[in-house]
Structures are given as structure tokens and as C-alpha cells.
Amino acid sequence: MEHPVGGAYQAGWNLAQEFVNMYTGMGGEFFEAGTPKVSINNDKGVAALEMMKALTAYMNPDYLTHDSNATSAEWEAGNVALMNMWGSRTGVLLDAEGSAPEVHENTMVGAPMTVGGGTIPATTLWWDGWTVAKNISDADAVATFLALKHGTSPALLNDETMGQAVWMIPGYKPAPVNAGVMQAMAMGAKPYPMLPYMGLLHTALGDNIADFLTGKEDAATTLADIEAAYTAAATEKGFLQ
């Protein structure tokens, strides 16, 4: 096999997410504590980028055009043997549809890996919750609340729904398809940084990391570019003075 490693490295959102995972695994913090000031231009940022570039040496040369769907298709086609992939995609990979029997039978989901001697895995946890809008009548709000509460209650759990998501409700028994997510949680993986200005940094990451991976510039320049792009956007948006 020529290019054994797969990854959702498409320039833009996917690539930025890979950096967020890797940098988190390195133990990096994205912002100065309690402020919207970005702080990724450090040793951990450089190490995260270097690790990503080292991995790309084992990937299909077109990795910058492969998003999570294309990477899943590469897996099902039997073109890659190892990949760090989103938990939400494992359902597609583990069902018999779309892949050759020998690929399907040998597909296994395991725990995410740590990086650079870190203690937590190089991944981020994503979770969904629900809220009730403020600008509706009290009666509607109560009805919405009750409906959503029922929709996420233990009563909902059955053989079919168990495998569809990782339900954080009592009585949930993990299906094999969710083994990776459960192990990530057991290993102490961090949730994706839910900060109001994180989206701006995610966009700046996605726009600039490719310059480093293609060898146009070194890691420190790329990180400085990302910080500058984020700072301009966060200033416009009113997060930074």
C-alpha cells in the first residue's frame, strides 16, 4: 500500500479541526486565559504542525482536497489502512454498505492516540444539547421543553437508537460503533473549546495551515499568519479592542 494513512486534511474547516485535535493533544491552550487574545505561536503549536506534516508523508498527495467524506470513501475503497477519523463517521465505516467485504470485515474502531508524550488523546469531544428560545410564549416554551425532555429521556433508548449516537443519559449502553468515543472520554479527552471567538480562529487556521504543509513557509511564519488573520477578524467583530 502506497499511502497507508488517511485523514480529513482538506484545506479549510477539516484541516483546522485536525490542528485543533493535535494542538489539544500537545497540551496547548488556544487563548490567553480569560481573554480573546490568541496564543498558538509557541513550541506546542510548532510541534502540532510538524506532526501533521510528518503524517502527510504517508498520505495520498492530494490530501489537501480530501474532506471527511472523501477520506471515508478512501477507507471503504481499501486505499488506506490507518486513520484518525471523526467518531460521527464510524457508523458509515462499520456498516456493510459501500465497502468491499474484506475491508468491511477488517475495519476496527479503537481509542484515539496521544501525541508528543501527552497524557490526553489528540482529539476533541463534540456534543449536542438543546435550548429553548426566549422569544416564544410561555406555553410554547413549556411544550418545547417537555417535548425535548422526552426526546432525550431514557424512554427513547432502544436497540436501534443506541447505535445512532452516544447518548449521555442513564441506561445508555455503548454500541461497538461508539467504542472510539467512549475510550476518548475514558482517557480524559477535552471538549472542543466552546468560546464565542473560537470560530474566527478555526477559520484562520483553515485558511493558513496549507501554506506550511505545502512547504511554502515554516511553522512559525504560518502560526504568526494565523494569529494576525485571527486578530484582524476578532478586532472587526468587536472581541478585541
Binding site: 489537501l64 505545502t214 477578524a233 472587526e236
Partner: protein
């Protein structure tokens, strides 16, 4: 025409232009000199199923009060135009003073997002516009020369690239030039390099986008020229033939001058279209190698956090770019118009 008649004649189109062209431009201009208010940020303790952490949130209530007091947002003047993600005035100034020589200066300038995108946009416009028009002209001449019986099918086939939806056409080509696709593999065996990948190389990706641009826009030139060819005066052509003019001489001295106004018209339209190049970059997943001004507007409006003022500023800069590019053609048209009436 009487002034009164002229007024009623022009009123519907003037109203439509005001509503759909002038007002949106004014709105974009106003948007581009305003930015959202300073966000009121608070530190809070955030507890979820993974434990408790101290984190920051936007104080929605305080920010809402600010917004209600001044719904337009902060007036920032040209602040957004000059920031690093647009014209980057202070960054360019700093580069100018500390760069070693012109090569170094331009290399670093192209690393700034706006100038990098401008470089691709201008290269694309400068190559696709003339080449697509030339190809369209050549196809029109060829189709016009074949027997009438075959012209219908020939016209249909020549128009196909324009009939296919741009996003779909680009996506089909994207898979064909994949290293395992029919075109990609053919190119690999032609140059004898089995590791060659168009999608992994910036120069090849640019070439691919430009080839796609020519392929998809030449049918427009073809259809306009083909219509124009039907109006070429047969008398002039015949007398040229009697004088012993070759086919090339007839094209050069009779057909080409006759079609010149059409060429000006197409150059205007195509420069405007090509400067707004967008779909192929999305379809070819070319964001890592090529970006354009329209691509920036798209990512500002569709990003994780919408940057409306940034998108507005880029839109105004795009309009200015189109005006600058069109000005030579417009001035020329204006001059020749003056001559004819004089």
C-alpha cells in the same frame, strides 16, 4: 424624443436600476465602514458532563443594549479596508522598509491574503478572457464552414460546456484529473511521472482552473461570434475572393474588423465575469492553492462566525477592481462614440 416621453420611457428601467443596483451598492458601502460593537465578555464557571472550567462568554444582555443604542454598529471608517485581511496598509509599509530587494518584497506581499488572492484573480482574468474569446472565434469559424446539414449537432456539442452547470462541470473535471482518474492518469503516463498529482501542486492547480475557465466560457464567445458571422456582408467577402484573398486574409481583413464591436462587448462582459471567479475554486477544492476575492466574500459569509463588514469591504474592493479593469475599454468606447456623432 420629447423630454416627457423620454422620462416615462426610461422610468421603469431607471427604477429597477436604482432598486437592484444602486441601493445594494450603497448598502454594501455603509456596511463596510461599520463594524459590530465591542462585545462585552465575562468570565463564568462552565460545568458540563466533562467537568467544570472557568471560561469566557459574551454578555448577551449588555451587548444587546449597546446594539440597541446604536443599531448601525461602530463607525470604523476605512478601518476594515486597511486591516491585515484586506489592503493591509501598515503590513505592506513594514514589508517595504524591511524587505531585501523587490523579489523578497513581492514574495512576502503575496503571503498577505488580499494580495495573494488578487494575484490569482488577475492571472486568471488576463489568461481566460483572451483565450476563451479566441477559442470561441475559432470554433465559430469552423462551425460556419461545415455543411449546413451538420451545423445543428455541431452547435449543440460546442455549447455543451455552457449548458452544464458550472459547479457540476468543474466537479466532473475534478474527478477526471484525479491521480486515479482518466485525465490524471493520462497526464502521468504522458510526462512519465507516476507520482504527478495535479491537485497537490499549486502551478498545476492554477493551470487546471484556467483551462477549466477557458473550456466553460468559450461557448459564450462562440455563440456571439457565430451570430455575428451570419451578418458579415457576402459582397465584400466575394470581392475579396475575386481579388485573390486567401481564407486567412479574408478573416484578417474582412471578418475580424466586422466583428470588432462584438469583441469589445465580450471583453467587457468576460473581464467582469472572470474577475469574480469563484465556482471552480470550490469545485476543485483548490482553496489551498488558489483564492479569489469572491472566494473571500464566500468564506466571510459562510465561515464559523460571519464577518459581514469584511465581506462588504471585499465586495467594494471587487467593484473597484472591475471598474479599474474595464476603464480602458470604457474610455475607448466613449471616444469612438463621440467620433461617430461628431
Amino acid at each position: 424624443m420629447k423630454h416627457r416621453t423620454f422620462f416615462w420611457f426610461i422610468l421603469p428601467s431607471a427604477t429597477a436600476m436604482l432598486l437592484f443596483i444602486a441601493l445594494p451598492i450603497v448598502s454594501v458601502l455603509i456596511q463596510s465602514v461599520h463594524a459590530p460593537h465591542q462585545q462585552v465578555i465575562r468570565e463564568v464557571e462552565n460545568c458540563n458532563v466533562f467537568g467544570c472550567t472557568t471560561t469566557t462568554v459574551v454578555d448577551q444582555e449588555a451587548t444587546r443594549l449597546l446594539r440597541e443604542a446604536a443599531p448601525m454598529g461602530r463607525f470604523v471608517g476605512t478601518g476594515i479596508y486597511t486591516d491585515r485581511n484586506h489592503l493591509a496598509i501598515s503590513e505592506v509599509g513594514a514589508l517595504w522598509t524591511k524587505s531585501e530587494g523587490m523579489g523578497d518584497f513581492f514574495g512576502q506581499l503575496l503571503n498577505l491574503p488580499f494580495y495573494g488572492a488578487l494575484a490569482f484573480t488577475l492571472t486568471y482574468t488576463a489568461l481566460v478572457t483572451p483565450l476563451a474569446i479566441l477559442l470561441g472565434f475559432a470554433v465559430a469559424l469552423a462551425v460556419n464552414a461545415i455543411p449546413r446539414l451538420f451545423r445543428g449537432p455541431a452547435i449543440f456539442v460546442s455549447l455543451l460546456p455552457m449548458i452544464v452547470t458550472p459547479l457540476v462541470g468543474a466537479l466532473i473535471l475534478f474527478w477526471m484529473v484525479d491521480a486515479r482518474g482518466i485525465l490524471g492518469a493520462a497526464i502521468q503516463s504522458l510526462v512519465g511521472d507516476p507520482t504527478l498529482s495535479i491537485k497537490a501542486s499549486t502551478p498545476l492547480m492554477w493551470a487546471m482552473l484556467i483551462v477549466y475557465g477557458i473550456w466553460s466560457t468559450s461557448p459564450f464567445a462562440f455563440v456571439v461570434y457565430y451570430a455575428g458571422l451570419q451578418t458579415v456582408p457576402q459582397d465584400t467577402l466575394e470581392s475579396a475572393m475575386i481579388d485573390g484573398a486567401t481564407r486567412w486574409q479574408r478573416i484578417r481583413h474582412v471578418i475580424f474588423p466586422h466583428l470588432l464591436p462584438l469583441t469589445t462587448f465580450m471583453a467587457l462582459i468576460k473581464i467582469m465575469d472572470n474577475f469574480r471567479v469563484f465556482e471552480p475554486i470550490v469545485s476543485f477544492n483548490a482553496g489551498a492553492h488558489a483564492q479569489s476575492l469572491s472566494y473571500f466574500i464566500y468564506s466571510d459569509l459562510g465561515g464559523e462566525t460571519r464577518l459581514l463588514s469584511s465581506a462588504a469591504a471585499t465586495s467594494v474592493l471587487t467593484i473597484l477592481g472591475v471598474v479599474i479593469l474595464l476603464s480602458p475599454v470604457l474610455v475607448r468606447t466613449w471616444r469612438s462614440f463621440g467620433k461617430e456623432t461628431a
